[in-house]
């Protein structure tokens, strides 16, 4: 993934750290794991809603995905979700379909970035 994307995640994770001890890093690892566990389900719900031509539901799931991603600094997923949310708000569902692979790709990149960043932090703790 891009340096910007990795930098965004690193900035957010570092913001969440107080002491940087092993216990705190473990808590953040669980937070990240919680997000990475939930995100695929949110993506699935989003595109299920698109498949059913349910624009309000699509907007809802896109908003949730955006919030969850931006919460941990995953700017790539957050920005794509924001685009989808905006399109869904305008009931333009057709262009949304093309976003699925881009969002999944961005999430996969974030997973790699998280692993790298948390590994560095754990070694430093």
């Amino acid at each position: 993934m891009s340096d910007d994307a990795r930098s965004s995640i690193r900035t957010r994770i570092e913001d969440l750290i107080d002491d940087g001890d092993a216990c705190e890093i473990a808590l953040i690892e669980r937070l990240v794991a919680s997000f990475l566990d939930r995100a695929p389900g949110l993506i699935a719900d989003l595109f299920d809603a698109v498949a059913q031509h349910d624009a309000p539901a699509a907007r809802h799931w896109a908003h949730k995905l955006k919030g969850a991603a931006s919460n941990l600094g995953v700017s790539t997923v957050a920005e794509l979700s924001f685009d989808v949310e905006r399109l869904a708000a305008e009931a333009q569902l057709a262009p949304i379909a093309g976003y699925r692979s881009r969002i999944e790709h961005a999430l996969a990149g974030a997973r790699v970035d998280f692993t790298q960043i948390l590994g560095e932090l754990a070694r430093a703790a």
């Binding site: 913001d15 969440l16 216990c23 953040i28 937070l31 955006k66 969850a68 919460n71």
Partner: protein, 406 residues
């Protein structure tokens, strides 16, 4: 996932502020808990209805941080509910960039203390929540001082009125003692408001002719025209107290209890709040019970009448029954005492009447310092005949002694 996962090993005391975080996105809630959990006791809710349930079950919190966009109830609506029901709780809106205009509008209209944008940096989040908690502390402290001042002022007012018109306030005092015990039995918040409502409910009794007051005190049936006068008593109190801050619920209760016109006006305006409904329910039961007992009806028959007549909450009547059975336990013993022997804690066993027929104190009223002063003054003027009959709980009663002769 348990919120405990995100709680650091902090040492909390009873003074550690409690904050409520509300968001329908679990990871956001977990992150906020992580950011704030070291400094505050964190409670979380996944939506507006759940947040209100938390507040209703666990009591008010120092501050609430609510997401703007949530299904069922959005953040603005939730914070408005919180403002109405828990006005001291500081309210913070957590929102994305897209909703900034809404957040600023909410602040300008006074509905929220502040807002935070997502994702909120930890330093800014903690600073805003600290400020919100501090604002809550200041407001609560001011309210506490105001409340104590108001209570002491009302106590002085009612004490003075008890002296000025013993007949009118003997009954009010009995009802106040009864609702205070009921409030404790029902574990109600703000029992003082119900006590004030009990006294206020009889403020208007000063407008009644003495003959009606006497019948009222003895629980005697009243003809229609006198009953109308009596029914209007709470409305008089509502007019007298309507501009007193912090007595809004008491005034609404008086209007609900009061004349038909007032009741209709209240019903038209909006349904009574749960607190007012409860106050009115407790007062109605206490007033009716006192009327029956004053008429000489036994307590068991009085309870049966309350149940048979309907219109009273079973919970209130059951509590009344428990209160009265509790009251029966410490049997009161009648003593004949001189004015100089009166003590706070005694109750007058019967009306204290001056030789000219003026009622100085109503029967059943508790002895207070003000009443003692009044009786001392009448005694000095030779307008009081001793001994006076008072009651004391049997356990506190000294061995019966005959009062000394003058």
């Amino acid at each position: 996932m348990s919120d405990d996962l995100w709680r650091r090993a902090s040492v909390f005391t009873d003074d550690t502020p409690v904050i409520l975080l509300v968001d329908d996105e679990a990871t956001t809630l977990q992150t906020l808990s992580l950011q704030l959990g070291q400094e505050f006791r964190v409670v979380t809710a996944s939506g507006g209805p759940a947040a209100m349930a938390v507040l209703d079950n666990q009591g008010p919190v120092a501050a609430i941080v609510a997401d703007k966009r949530m299904p069922d109830m959005d953040g603005i609506e939730l914070l408005e509910h919180v403002r109405l029901r828990y006005p001291d709780t500081s309210r913070v809106l957590h929102t994305g960039q897209a909703d900034l205009a809404v957040a600023i509008s909410a602040i300008n209209s006074g509905n929220v203390f502040g807002f935070l944008t997502k994702p909120c940096p930890t330093r800014e989040l903690r600073r805003t929540v600290r400020e919100a908690v501090e604002r809550h502390r200041v407001v609560a402290a001011e309210r506490d001082v105001s409340g104590r001042t108001l209570r002491a002022t009302l106590q002085a007012l009612f004490g003075w009125m008890e002296l000025a018109n013993p007949l009118a306030f003997a009954r009010a005092g009995r009802i106040r003692d009864l609702v205070a015990a009921l409030g404790r039995e029902l574990e109600l918040d703000d029992v003082w408001q119900i006590e004030v409502a009990a006294m206020a409910s009889q403020l208007g009794a000063v407008t009644l002719p003495p003959s009606v007051l006497d019948k009222l005190d003895r629980g005697l049936p009243l003809p229609d025209n006198e009953q109308q006068l009596t029914d209007a008593i709470p409305s008089v109190a509502a007019k007298l107290l309507r501009d007193v801050p912090m007595l809004e619920d008491v005034v609404e209760a008086m209007r609900t209890l009061g004349s038909t016109e007032d009741r209709r006006a209240v019903a038209r305006a909006q349904p009574a709040s749960p607190a007012v409904s409860l106050t009115v329910g407790v007062l109605r039961a206490a007033i009716e019970f006192d009327t029956l007992v004053s008429r000489g009806v036994g307590t068991d028959s009085a309870f049966a009448h309350l149940v048979r007549g309907g219109g009273h909450s079973g919970q209130v009547v059951d509590a009344l029954r428990r209160v009265c059975s509790g009251m029966d336990v410490p049997d009161r013993v009648v003593h004949a005492v001189r004015v100089a022997e009166l003590e706070v804690g005694m109750h007058f066993a019967e009306d204290v009447v001056a030789p000219n027929g003026l009622t100085l104190v109503g029967g059943g009223v508790a002895v207070t310092e003000g009443i003692m002063d009044r009786l001392v003054n009448f005694k000095r003027k030779g307008q009081l005949t001793e001994p006076i009959l008072v009651t004391l709980p049997a356990a506190e009663s000294p061995a019966a002694e005959a009062p000394e002769e003058d």
